[in-house]
Symmetry: C2
Subunit: 396 residues, 2 copies
């Protein structure tokens, strides 16, 4: 599947939950499949921290050939014949405001100053993103979604859709998500933010004007993130206590060296394979991700809490929802544990919503929502085939 | 109980596991209680990352008055009438080499250069610490310990004592510890180290010569540490999603303000109480802790792995032990989980050692080993009264 991003400009300012408003802005998005004549087969995919509108398919080079490694972040989930089947559904991936992957964000110019927004970019929330997404649907002529779907922070957007626009969502698919962050979740976000903000290259958020980037802080932020995305078990299986040079020697078939190799006794150099992995992930991330975007998106996570206006009563908060729901959680996900998904399930059942819930016994921790897992994909496939598609047919 | 630290100089170089040797060095230690004429009631307490020889009792001011807040780090465990009763036992607290609390470490002068050791301080391991502690016992005329005891990294030292000096340990009390670190444990250590080492004020470890300190890195390291010391549950209970200004307003009885207060929508300022707590802990730590010491001690944690020389067979590794054992773990400790303590228990039972094991249902996570918990303290008290004291009497 060959795809290309599209771009839409919005001239009406977007009022934000924080009190500010975003003047003229742009949204970058992609679509896969064909919108039905009845315009009733649209599925909106919401992205999490480190993702974008590029959900599925490949980009092409100048000769129209698929670019290697250009597949979208949910390529295994969305596409022709995939669990979210683009032969049946018209799927929309949209990049959120505040991102560094195309839609208006802190690296763009602030029309009021002619300088990059930087730290002055207004705080955006899950609710703001949903409002912006709703305007995109207006522009595309889609009144009602067959489904809204997302994992992690994307799941929060899907949940918020059912509360902000209850009449516009037929189904919500919420994967590895939570009704809000715990203190520990916020704590991890805060450490990552402090690492970024106290990096001398951050310059109060105006690093672009200083021709630099807070790479050290971004590296630390990403390393922390990676630890929380994986389960303890999968880390032990993938890396264990293996030494880095040992792994290299064995890869070269040099068993003699491998056997001779032992601790090198160093405090600053890489000793264990897990260290090398984290450093690599941190380095890579620090090259392409924007620091102000990291602050904005982690804050959107922190702030999301639909029960807050109801004194913490999630059942009361979800009373507005009209959609049917599929929730999926993963047994080893300690960032957004199954217990958090079950809170949402319970609150929906309290409101007599129609809810399917799958708790998948998977070893991969939070990352599982992005990985191939036969039972997980089968559950999503079945839900889309039997429930979401049926709802479209019923309207036909 | 009024106490004062003592200091002993050792002129014989200490050979280190990493291949280097430490020339003349000093150990700072404290003792509580009285050594019996038979010299058979000595209990050695080993410290963890952020602790020292000052286990119990108070220091005094110039007028001999107890200094407020000067009590030792295990004050609730060690003292007259406490679980480790200094009316009965002669308790020794010793500061480890590489520390920044008195014993020879990276802030001290390297005799070869006349400059602070800094990053040139040799890597030290749990085994090296135990060897240094054994020399201290030699100097104090103690051939055999009634018990060696420690929590977390201190528990690793206690376990290593039973392997390095099996004849010199009657009982080992190992609390909230593990036979080695998991990949996830190492990963958290590595992120903390990267935060320190990449702080521009680190200067490759020679920050003292530059008249500075890598405070930013130390703050991040401490914040990460604090998250892993606490359980998710206790964090939710202590902090939850409470907002910082809200807490302040309510503390002042200003309910009207508290009710008015809501999210302030800020990416860089404190919003949640948990953020304020972590920042405070990080700031405090960065003022008194030495960065090179942090690197050394986390590496000692990473390297400890007695089963390593036995192809990972912990039962084979522990075959040398001759002591009796008490192990304690805490249900919500996800840093050193009960499963890790049970690995040690199983390996000891495989060797037909006499082992008592308590898994305490406590909400506080890893921190529980430092806190008052009636069942935990009762178990340690009973073990010392009935088992450790009996062993002393049997020798009398």
């Amino acid at each position: 599947m060959i795809v290309a991003p599209q771009r839409l400009s919005f001239t009406e300012p977007l009022p934000l939950q924080g009190g500010a408003q975003l003047p003229a802005y742009e949204l970058v998005y992609e679509t896969y499949g064909t919108l039905s004549p009845a315009r009733d087969n649209a599925v909106l995919i919401c992205h999490a921290l480190n993702a974008s509108h590029h959900v599925a398919g490949h980009y092409t080079d100048a000769h129209g050939q698929p670019l290697p490694k250009s597949e979208g972040w949910w390529h295994n989930m969305v596409g022709p014949g995939k669990p979210v089947d683009t032969n049946r559904f018209f799927v929309i991936g949209v990049n959120n405001i505040g991102s560094c992957f195309g839609s208006t964000g802190p690296t763009h110019l602030n029309p009021a100053t002619g300088q990059p927004w930087g730290a002055d970019f207004p705080v955006v929330t899950v609710e703001d993103w949903v409002n912006a997404q709703a305007r995109l649907l207006d522009a595309l002529g889609i009144e009602r979604l067959a489904a809204v779907m997302g994992g992690s922070l994307g799941g929060m957007q899907a949940l918020s859709w059912t509360l902000q626009y209850p009449q516009r969502v037929r189904h919500a698919v919420i994967i590895a998500s939570a009704p809000n962050l715990t203190a520990e979740n916020i704590a991890f976000n805060e450490v990552a933010r402090r690492a970024i903000v106290t990096d001398p290259d951050f310059h109060g958020g105006d690093y672009l004007r200083h021709g630099t980037k807070p790479r050290r802080g971004l590296r630390i932020a990403r390393m922390i993130g990676h630890i929380t995305y994986l389960s303890d078990d999968v880390m032990n299986e993938k890396f264990g206590r293996r030494l880095r040079p040992l792994v290299e020697a064995m890869r070269d078939g040099d068993v003699e060296t491998a056997e001779r190799l032992a601790y090198r006794y160093t405090t600053q150099e890489v000793e264990f394979e897990i260290e090398s992995y984290l450093r690599y992930q941190g380095d890579k991330f620090s090259e392409y991700f924007d620091a102000n975007t990291y602050l904005l998106i982690t804050r959107a996570l922190d702030y999301f809490d639909p029960a807050r206006a109801y004194d913490g009563d999630l059942s009361a908060a979800l009373a507005r929802a009209r959609a049917d729901f599929l929730l999926v959680s993963f047994s080893t996900d300690w960032r957004f544990s199954p217990a958090r998904s079950r809170e949402i399930v319970k609150a929906l059942l309290d409101n007599r919503r129609c809810v399917s819930y799958c708790e998948i016994d998977a070893p991969h921790g939070h990352d599982a929502f992005l990985l191939d897992d036969a039972r997980y994909h089968a559950a999503v496939r079945a839900y889309f085939q039997h429930r979401v598609a049926a709802a479209c047919r019923a309207q036909e």
